[in-house]
Structure formats: C-alpha cells, structure tokens
C-alpha cells in the first residue's frame, strides 16, 4: 500500500473530479479510512480547489494545482499548491440560510465546510507557491454504510 499520492492538474473546474478520484483511490487502499472521512476529504479538497480556480487564478493565465496526500498512522495530511493570487482561507461565520442566495453564498459555504470537516488548516505563501494544508484525524465517528 502506498502512503503518498499526488497529482497535478490544470486549475479548471474540469479537474475537480480527478482530485476527488485520487482521494477515493487512496481511501480504497486504506481500509482504516472510513466513508465519512473519505467524503470529508473530498469535500474539503473540492471546495478549496474551486476557490483556487475561481479566485486564485482570476485575471491570470490558467495555472495548475498540485494535490498531495499523505496517509499517516493517525491522520491524513492533504496539501494543495497553486501559483495564483494568495488567498488565506479564514474561518467564516455559519452562513445565514435566511439570506438571499447569491453568488457569495456558495463560497461562504465552501470555506465553512472546510472548517467543519478538517481538524487542522494551515496556509503559507512562499516562492514555490501557495500551500494550503489540511489535517484530518483518523478514528473519528463514521457512517455505518457508504
């Protein structure tokens, strides 16, 4: 079983499925990762990549996103690297469901979902790109079926 997985794809919405597929493949090779943990990882990565595509490379030539997944004994560490505009994902308040659904609502929920599902979030900007790292602890509550 591998413990490290990575892919690099164009920073476009068409790449979202490939990122989710990589996470699915990694989780299938590690039975200790339950379906809820797997879904949480896919959701967080999907939301973050959507933000990178939509905002990170706005006004720039299309770039790429590198997804790296490290499966450790008690946690999964996911790192997304891009080369667009820096955008530190600060934790938003819970979205107001009574507000008129607008364009901002989707991204508000996106960041909210990331913070609700991940146990640790770290962001840094360096010469070698913007690095967003999620940590998901293993062994938490899981669904009984997928």
């Amino acid at each position: 079983m591998r413990d490290r997985y990575s892919i690099c794809r164009a920073a476009e919405l068409k790449s979202l499925a490939a990122f989710r597929d990589l996470i699915d493949a990694a989780c299938q090779e590690h039975p200790d990762i339950g379906p809820q943990t797997c879904y949480d990882l896919k959701l967080a990565v999907d939301e973050a990549c959507t933000n990178i595509v939509t905002h990170g490379y706005a006004g720039m030539n299309p770039g790429s996103i590198l997804l790296a997944l490290e499966l450790e004994r008690h946690q999964v560490v996911v790192t997304l690297t891009d080369f667009g505009h820096p955008f530190e994902p600060c934790e938003p308040p819970a979205p107001d469901l009574k507000a008129e659904p607008g364009d901002g609502m989707a991204s508000g929920f996106g960041l909210f979902f990331i913070y609700q599902t991940m146990d640790g979030i770290r962001y840094r900007t360096a010469e070698d790109g913007n690095h967003l790292t999620f940590v998901k602890l293993l062994g938490g509550r899981e669904w009984t079926s997928s």
Binding site: A17, L97, K98
Partner: protein
C-alpha cells in the same frame, strides 16, 4: 453527470446521477429552472444516485427552494446518500427543507404540508 426528469402526478421528479460540483451544478440549476419556467412548481430532487454534492450544489438547492416557494410550489429532496445527507446536515438545511427516504414519500408529501422557514416561504401543517 446525468439528469433524468419525469412527471409523477403533480410533481416533477428530477434525478441527478453522478457528482454535483462547481462544474456540473449549473446543469442542475438549468434543469430545475426550466421546470419552474414551464409552470412545474412542485419539484422533487432525487439524490439516490448523487454520489457527491458540494456547496455549489447546495447553492442550487437553496435557490430553487426559494423560487419554487415564491411561485406557490415547493422543493423536496429524496433518497440522499450518507455523504450528501452529511453535507445537508453540516449546512443546517434540514430545518428548512424536507428530505425523504424515498421519492414516493417525497412526491406524496407535496401539497400536503409546507414548511414555515422565514424567508423561504410559509409552512402550514394540516
């Protein structure tokens, strides 16, 4: 992702097969908007084969929920898989939007009672 639409009684049953993310959510939105545009305001979104839903899909659901109620109709969700149900619970929408285990139950519920959710329409329980 594929979308199948069929009429069941007074309801439009819209089945989404695959993943609803930022790429595919507009297709779902267009389909549901089209139903509303044709006067089909009683909508059931069948999520039985929806394997993934992100905030983009949630945004579509909330938008269509509001629009259908503004037109005197409603939107119900049916057969959500655990992952999608998890997203709906995280977002807190289960308090404003009725979900059912089967499409039959969801269709049967339309017109019987409606949710009062302050901003999303009136609810009167018979």
């Amino acid at each position: 992702m594929d979308i199948v639409v069929r009429q069941v009684g007074q309801a439009s049953l819209v089945s989404v097969v695959g993943s609803v993310d930022a790429l595919t959510a507009p297709q779902v939105a267009d389909c549901l908007e089209s139903q509303l545009g044709c006067g089909q305001t009683q909508l059931v979104l069948d999520l039985g084969q929806t394997v993934f839903l992100s905030s983009a899909g949630l945004h579509v659901i909330l938008t269509i929920l509001r629009k259908s109620r503004q037109k005197g109709g409603d939107l119900r969700l049916a057969a959500a898989q655990p992952g999608v149900e998890h997203v709906l619970r995280l977002a807190g929408v289960t308090g404003i939007l009725e979900t059912f285990s089967t499409t039959d139950e969801a269709v049967a519920s339309l017109g019987r009672d409606r949710l009062d959710v302050g901003g999303y329409g009136q609810r009167t329980v018979e």
